[in-house]
Amino acid sequence: MPTSPGVRFLPASDRALLISFGDEIAQESHEQVAKLLRFLELEPIPGVRNFHPAYSSLLITFDALRLTHAELEAVLRRHLEGAKQLRLPEPRKVEIPVCYGGEYGPDLNDVAALRGAKTETVIELHAATQYVVYFLGFVPGFAYLGELPDGLITPRLATPRRSVPPGSVGIAGRQTGVYPLPTPGGWRLIGRTPVAMFRPDSGSRLAIGDRVRFVPISGDRFAAMEKEQARA
């Protein structure tokens, strides 16, 4: 049976198995996660119920009345080679308009101060990078994007906000992301997008593997786009 080096199968609960492709956030292990997920979506395993992808691992939940950990692992081992050979579709490129600072980015000044940079530099750095959607988690439509340039790395807020306005663009450690819904949140908010990141009818704006760029817009443009969106 072919075994891929560095791949580990770990029982997470009586109905979940975690496949780990490594212990670090790396483009390569992420690609393995994305490929296996895609493969399993194309060739579903009977009894498998859900997937929770993350940076370098995939949690698979299953119907424990139909499958055991060992049985699932055996099927997955057979699939690993096929998943590796799979060619992922060309990544979608998504642009997200962001109005930085002011009321939309209440932590922008703090981030600049923490990094000893001008606010303009923070915006330029954030908008100049192309990010990869590593996975979606936390709440519906919340995409974990990386990697943030070194110059923007800051710790989370010591006390998370009770409610973050939807569309808020936050940064934390090496990650950045957009809050799709009004939820609590501990990331530093540097701007906001008028684009809905999650809609009940059409689902999530972003999907695993997408390439994302943030495009700075003015307050007026934000207001105009928000109006357009409300009509849509």
């Binding site: 770990l10 997470a12 975690l18 859900n50 940076y55 936390f138 519906p140 009940p200 999530s204």
Partner: protein, 313 residues
Amino acid sequence: MSAIEVVTPGLLTTVQDLGREGFGPMGVSASGAADAMALRLGNRLLGNAEGAAGLEMTLLGGTFLFPEGGVIALTGSDFGATLDENPVGLWRSTEVRAGQRLRSGPTKSGARCYLCVQGGVAVKPFLGSASTHLLSGLGGLEGRALRKGDVLSVGASEPIFRKRTVAVRALQRLTPRKVLRVTVGMQADWFPSASQQLFYGNLHRVREDSNRMGLRLEGLPVTARTRGEMITEGISLGAVQVPESGQAIISFVEQQTTGGYPVIANVISVDFASVGQLRPRDEVRFERVAMAEARALLIEREKLLASEDLILE
């Protein structure tokens, strides 16, 4: 099509079915009834599909008017319900005449009582399920808890009243537990044996700020060895996460799909229903079982649910 009018909503009443599986890659957790056993049995009493949507009441129940009547079943915890002043028993089908009001009050036992109705509660499904996901404001009725004046449609079905009850012997075996059985967590080895002893040897009290997303516990702090930050990974239902504070959190039906705190243990599937009945200030203990035992218990539970003498006519 008949209806249910919300006269008073109670503390927190939501539309729930058995949840939406398969949308983890979008960051959407399953949601669904916190005590899925109670919902399934309520539906069985009415001849509904097991996964039909019902109302999940929390700690303090509401008052509901049935303008055209219907057939209902109350399951889960006893909220002292009455129908025009007459007590309504749990775990049995009950006929409601047109214009009658079902009143329920504060719980006399666990956290949740289910009001199931023949035909099921009909709402516009979100990703294939009627379940309310409160944190994200999606599913159920406008993604929120019920309010006074809401009117819920009941799925079309000719009301057929059959007097049915759940067998007492089965109910005894389904009694909610305060000793939660767990399997070893993904990061259990981050916790030295002294911490493990604290975790398994002591009581943990359910905090007031617990909800469907997670049950926050307090007790003697359980500390992990410092091993730097964990890489965020997928979290399974019932995972017992331990943040820096050392106070455990049980991830529950509206869980985050991923998390970055070490997981010391994971509640076994058959005990999820017990977690759903925990109230604030309840005290629980954890007991470790092997993966094979967890599975055997699940098979046994499903056998019980499939047995012919479960529902008595």
